[in-house]
């Protein structure tokens, strides 16, 4: 494997690791998420794109 590829995978691995750590911090430590108690409160995935 050439050096460029190694850098690409190292970058991807680091980004993934940061992403996992961020998710852990957000969900497990800060518990920063919404809990929907009623079915009608659950938004459609496309809600985020509405202006």
């Amino acid at each position: 494997m050439d050096n460029k590829s190694k850098i690409l995978f190292l970058f991807l691995f680091t980004a993934t690791l940061i992403s996992v750590i961020s998710s852990y911090y957000k969900y497990q430590i800060k518990e920063n998420y919404v809990i929907f108690q009623k079915e009608e409160d659950i938004p459609s995935p496309l809600t985020l794109f509405k202006i």
Partner: protein
């Protein structure tokens, strides 16, 4: 927040142990499907990686199995946990890892099929789209929140999950396209089979992997299957280790002996994993003791089996190594014999020429008292040169160095000339040598020189092994074959000698009594020349002292 705590309490979820063991997992099948896939896939991936860690395909298969194992573990936590924060984190982890399994599978297929690494620009094309998933995983685009409405313990997926599904579909289609194009380009059957197995193996692996999610997501709200669709979906995971095993087998297929060990290790790993799982379900002390005993016994027997397979593999590999050494030694020996006989032929031929020149008076008149010695020297040198030539011919035939020049000629005239040449030696022994052939020429297309050698050898042999009586040489032709035959009243051939008559160096015990100078290569050369012309040769005899018949059949 109090209302949430009350709602959670109302759901009456069980508490989980070690993240994955809990009564919240509504069907034990989920443990079996996840653990079997986890242990066998990771085990196989690791075993293959340890054995061939320098090969890129094994490294990639290892990466795929590691990612798969993380996914399976996270998925199991999602099934088992009663804590929303754990559901949210591990759900995000499964969604993050899933497209990576597909991307690395695509990378694996490319490297396996092409035999080279994926070019950098294609690596960027394959892995760059994953960066969007990586960056957005900790955001609302990945998970919108936690669904407590029906006590389902589910995360609500955001648009990123659908982006990942589309990406996975694209990866799958590229794998299929890559496999199809490569299959059509490959020329040999073996290459095509390899491409077909690795492509379909990977596609089925990914389908088995995705089966649970697809079935669960599509049918969980349907009235027909409902929540049972998630259970059905688990059956797909049982296919995962099967296809991982298939891919591992394809990688190590050229090391056929190692695959036996790999299979034994995988079998034991699987058994221990399944038995170990029993601990999650057994409740009574008696059952726990029984499961423990079975587990220990399986472990001990497994170690014994693996050791025995390993021993057998070591022995077979050792034998294979010895066979290679032997083959090399044989080749060196043949080359040496060829060299020695070639040198000897030069010396003997030189002596023969000197005797011939002295006998013909090139160096003055030979005294009468000396003449018999000169003639004996000439005859002996001639015989020596012929013997060496016979050994050289046999060596050339064995090494495939003989090329036949096929031209049409009259076989009848050739046999007649050979018989005429040998008439005097038969007469000297008082043996009647006769030849019968059709009146018209018997035309045959072949190498005249080589066939002359073969037929001369047969007639010469017959004279040598017929001390008295008669020899009948005949040539006949019908629509399909030309048949050459010698019939004599000689020493005959015993059953023991018949078995190795046409083999290399195969002179019989009885024949050695009559012809002590026999090299044992004569009939071996005859057989090869006749077969080189698409014909066949065989001998018939009723036994020692009862004469013999040699038959040659050549195709018309």
């Amino acid at each position: 927040m109090d209302s949430i705590a009350t709602a959670i309490q109302a759901c009456e979820w069980g508490s989980s142990k070690f993240l994955i063991l809990s009564s919240n997992v509504f069907d034990p099948l989920i443990y079996y499907s996840h653990f079997t896939a986890f242990v066998l896939s990771l085990g196989l991936g690791t075993l293959v990686f340890i054995r061939n860690r320098k090969i890129l395909t094994t490294r990639l298969l290892f990466v795929v199995t590691v990612l798969l194992s993380i996914w399976l573990f996270s998925d199991l936590v999602v099934w088992a946990t009663e804590f929303s924060k754990e559901t949210m984190f591990f759900w995000s982890l499964t969604n993050l890892i899933e497209p990576f399994v597909y991307a690395f599978s695509l990378y694996f297929v490319y490297v396996f099929i092409s035999g080279k690494d994926l070019p950098f620009k294609y690596k960027v094309a394959v892995f760059f789209p994953l960066l969007i998933t990586v960056v957005l995983t900790p955001t609302k685009f990945a998970l919108l929140g936690y669904d407590l409405s029906n006590c389902d313990r589910d995360a609500v997926e955001g648009p990123l999950a659908y982006y990942a599904y589309v990406l996975e579909l694209i990866y799958m289609l590229i794998i299929l396209g890559l496999g199809t194009i490569s299959y059509l380009k490959k020329k040999t059957w073996e290459e095509r089979t390899q491409v077909l197995i690795v492509t379909l193996g990977t596609v089925f692996f990914l389908l088995s992997f995705a089966f649970g999610n697809v079935i669960g997501s599509l049918f969980s709200t349907a009235t027909v299957l409902g929540d049972y669709s998630w259970t059905i979906g688990q059956y797909g995971l049982f296919g995962v280790p099967v296809f991982v095993a298939l891919l591992a087998y394809i990688i190590v297929r050229f090391k056929t002996f190692n695959i036996g060990l790999l299979a034994a290790q995988a079998l034991i790993l699987g058994l221990v994993a399944i038995l170990g799982l029993e601990f999650a379900f057994v409740r009574t002390k008696t059952n726990q003791i029984l499961v423990s005993i079975t587990l220990v016994l399986t472990g001990i027997l497994g170690i014994m089996l693996i050791r025995s397979v390993r021993r057998e593999i070591d022995q077979r590999e050792h034998i294979e190594l010895l066979a290679k050494d032997l083959e090399l030694s044989n080749k060196q020996q043949v080359a040496l014999i060829h060299f020695i006989t070639h040198q000897l032929k030069g010396f003997v031929s030189k002596s023969r020429n000197i005797f011939a020149m002295i006998s013909e008076g090139d160096y003055g008149v030979v005294p009468d008292t000396m003449k018999p010695m000169i003639d004996e020297g000439f005859a002996s040198s001639t015989k020596g040169a012929q013997t060496i030539q016979e050994i050289l011919n046999a060596a050339n035939i064995k090494n495939g160095k003989v090329a036949y020049t096929m031209l049409p000629f009259d076989l009848s005239a050739l046999v007649a000339s050979i018989v005429a040449t040998h008439k005097s030696s038969a007469d000297e022994k008082g043996v009647a040598l006769t030849f019968t052939a059709p009146e018209s020429p018997v035309m045959f297309t072949g190498d005249q020189t080589q066939l002359e050698n073969a037929l001369k050898n047969l007639i010469d042999n017959t004279i040598k092994y017929t001390p008295q009586g008669s020899i009948k040489v005949s040539l006949t032709k019908d629509e399909k074959v030309i048949r050459f035959m010698t019939e004599d009243t000689g020493v005959g051939i015993s059953k023991e000698d018949m078995a190795h008559l046409f083999t290399e160096g195969g002179h019989g015990a009885e024949s050695m009594k009559v012809n002590v100078d026999s090299t044992g290569f004569g009939l071996y050369i005859v057989k090869n020349i006749i077969e080189g012309h698409g014909g066949k040769v065989w001998a018939e005899s009723e036994g020692a002292g009862k004469g013999a018949r040699f038959v040659v059949e050549l195709p018309v």
